[in-house]
Amino acid sequence: MTPDTTHGLHLDAICIALDGRTLLSLSTHVQPGEILTVMGPSGAGKSALLAYIGGFLDGAFTGCGRILIDGDDLTGIAAEKRRCGMLFQDPLLFPHLSVGGNLLFGLTPSIARRDQRRRMVEQALIDVELEGFFDRDPATLSGGQKARVALQRVMLSAPRLLLLDEPFSKLDSDLRQQTRRLIFARAKSAGLPVVLVTHDQADADAAGGPVIVIGEDSRR
């Protein structure tokens, strides 16, 4: 069966190598709203895979293969033009901007009017139960609140897919479940294909999508 390349994320014969040694090679397809989980030990190239998709693979690695999103070929396009939303282990909120400033930074420029931009950011805060946090200093937020702001920042940028690089690994277990549920729900309702890299089997179970294990030469 030929995969449907006009919807979702299509990874076509991707391979990542370091010093001539192939770390991983895979071909797969992620439907809109589906979460692909990539698991494997450290150094297996999980993060390199995300970097390759996002367009900032370190020069030490070499990558090959095509990345298609909704039929558009992203391969070779500059990172800033790919619209691959990323969430990292740390929320990476800019310490010199307010919470609202961080979200405005993410909000797509297609909304140009200042009052409208402000309103959209306020709404985004309400959506994650952070009403009235616009002028807060990000440093005063709790870990869970920071994670939610980081999520909204990337969602406001109107990404075409989401890349999650162990975004829950630094949260304690209660918070972890909540945040995970929130991020997955948001990605599904927005119909975004998601690639999740994780160590944690519970993440994979919660994602409920296909799982690829790399670095052990086994695949489920």
Partner: protein, 575 residues
């Protein structure tokens, strides 16, 4: 931040003995820098209001300010100095900012870094002379296009350098201040999460430059703010570059004040003091203006990030910034090459690109006289750099540099208060107290300017050294002093030598303090070279400007060679 309290093997454990000792080094440094500046300022303020008993000034008066106000074209001098400060700082910072934004973390960045770093060691005056030889009507640039493109068979009658608006002077300052700002930016870069911020802003669709400016620059700028203000202060009060490249009638304020100070009529000292206070006000005004510009910049930046505009394609902007950086470095090197050619030129008529003949005559003529100045430059520079290095090691070892904002501000004071305003006062004080111009006095004054640079240069590698080495040594039963002498200093040999070379270069390039405190009796290569600028002997200028460059360069050469010799058999120490 947390490490400030405990895990800080950089300083010895706090027992009574070392605590009392700790106060001493940072205390010595505070007194050594703070006191002369305060005393110097007082020594300037007094005469400005008519108080200078040695010259019969016994009562308060505003006459000298009135006299100052009647000086011809004073306002123009002030305005040129003010514009120079703002434009020089603004343009240098803008280029460094855009270049860093576009390239930090790339291979091009380290390439430009290697090109630009040596520029810091070239004295301002030498770079300025090089520029003169390039852009003057009979300079290399004109020869390149004449008579082919211009039709000129003799040099045109243009007022360049010394153009009335001071544009050449600004250019000369910019090519030297850009490397300075670039290197302080470089030193601050490891302290910001550059790579993460780059990935994040790229994943949100931001272009390299815009993403960097919004996400990283505010953090970076906070760290380089003091050096930026040092550039404002320097550009507003510079004397040597202004004498060589600046307008003549009227000259920038600082040049005119220096003229009054050196006037053989001692009563001009009152006028000079009043002028120095005006200079202080001018520099303060330039800094206040810069503060306002900072506010404007931060509002613009917030607008930029709030608007969400991505500007994903910024190649043109990036490449222009890169081109300006490379071009300015090339200008300085080309200028030095032209100096070299002039220093060995026989007859060199105008449109010819190269001299008709080459001769060593200019060198043979200059060297016997220059010998005294070279010896003095080297002894002044090496002793002030050595003392500064010892003080810096003591300061860092005891953690005195971290004793809050006070130490940092005092260290920067000599770079932020215009030299003119307190060195002149110091000179008046030393004359009043009966000190003649002497080597120890001049050495002490040089130390005020050398010490900050040596501390700044050494402190980063000092803090970057893996603390576990010292923990390990302490576990083996070594005392803090043993650890310092046997572990830390040997491992930091290269950094110490580099700091020494930086101090050496600063001392060798000091013009105004040497001129005023040396009182014409102690001369260095730099004072001799600048003195030649009013004459027109290009060959002599070539020789002196090159000597002025070679002396500090020797310091850096030694700093890079010695570790190779010392650690021949230690691969990890050679880098």
């Amino acid at each position: 931040m947390e490490r400030r309290t405990e895990d800080n093997p950089g300083r010895p454990l706090a027992n009574g003995k070392t605590v009392s000792c700790r106060f001493s080094v940072s205390g010595v440094v505070l007194v050594m820098i703070g006191l002369p500046i305060l005393a110097g300022l007082a020594g300037t303020v007094g005469p400005a209001f008519g108080l200078l008993p040695a010259l019969g000034g016994n009562h308060l008066t505003l006459d000298h300010f009135a006299e100052l106000a009647t000086q011809p074209h004073l306002l123009r001098s002030v305005l040129i100095s003010f514009a120079t400060a703002i434009i020089t700082t603004g343009l240098s910072l803008a280029v460094v900012m855009l270049f860093t934004a576009g390239y930090a973390g790339t291979r091009m960045f380290s390439r430009i870094q290697h090109l630009v770093s040596p520029l810091l060691a070239i004295p301002h005056a030498a770079a300025a002379f090089g520029l003169v030889f390039l852009v003057a009507p009979s300079g290399l640039a004109m020869r390149l296009v004449s008579p082919g493109l211009t039709g000129y068979d003799s040099p045109p009658d243009w007022l360049v350098p010394q153009d009335p608006l001071g544009l050449t002077m600004m250019a000369g300052l910019i090519v030297k201040e850009m490397p300075f700002l670039f290197l302080v930016t470089l030193a601050a870069l490891p302290q910001v999460p550059l790579l993460q911020a780059r990935h994040l802003s790229a994943s949100l669709g931001y272009g390299r430059t815009r993403g960097f400016l919004i996400s990283v620059w505010p953090l970076l700028y906070r760290q380089i703010r003091l050096p930026v203000f040092a550039v404002v202060a320097y550009a507003s009060s510079v004397v040597d570059v202004a004498m060589i490249l600046g307008p003549a009638l009227p000259a920038p304020l600082a040049v005119r004040i220096t003229g009054w100070m050196a006037d053989s009529d001692l009563r001009m000292r009152f006028l000079a003091s009043a002028g120095a206070l005006l200079q202080l006000g001018l520099t303060t005004a330039a800094m206040v203006t810069w503060l306002a510009l900072e506010q404007v910049g931060s509002v613009l930046l917030r607008r930029m990030s709030g608007s969400g505009v991505r500007k994903a394609d910024d190649r043109l902007l990036r490449r222009s910034a890169c081109a300006v950086m490379a071009l300015s470095a090339a200008l300085v090197f080309l200028g030095l090459a032209t100096l070299l050619v002039w220093s060995v030129a026989g007859l060199w008529p105008f449109p010819a690109l190269l001299p008709d003949s080459f001769t060593l005559q200019p060198w043979l003529r200059a060297l016997p006289q220059a010998g005294v100045a070279i010896t003095m430059t080297i002894s002044l520079a090496s002793s002030s750099a050595a003392i500064a290095l010892l003080l810096a090691i003591g300061l860092l070892w005891q953690g005195g540099h971290r004793s809050g904002q006070a130490m940092g501000s005092v260290l920067y004071l000599p770079l932020i208060v215009p030299q003119l305003c307190f060195v002149f006062g110091l000179q008046i004080l030393s004359v009043t107290l009966g000190f003649a111009a002497s080597f120890p006095l001049l050495l002490f004054v040089h130390l005020i300017f050398v010490l900050p640079y040596v501390v700044l240069s050494l402190s980063q590698p000092w803090q970057a050294l893996d603390r576990r080495y010292e923990t390990l040594a302490a576990g083996l039963g070594k005392s803090p002093l043993q650890i310092l002498l046997q572990i830390r200093l040997p491992m930091l040999t290269r950094a110490c030598l580099t700091a020494f070379a930086v101090g050496f270069a600063v001392s060798a390039g000091l013009y105004l303090p040497t001129l005023l405190i040396g009182a014409g009796r102690i001369v260095t290569i730099t004072t001799e070279a600048v003195a030649l600028s009013s004459g027109g002997d290009r060959r002599a200028i070539g020789v002196y400007a090159l000597l002025q460059t070679l002396v500090p360069f020797g310091g850096f050469l030694i700093a890079s060679l010695v570790p190779h010799l010392l650690f021949r058999d230690r691969r990890a120490m050679r880098i």
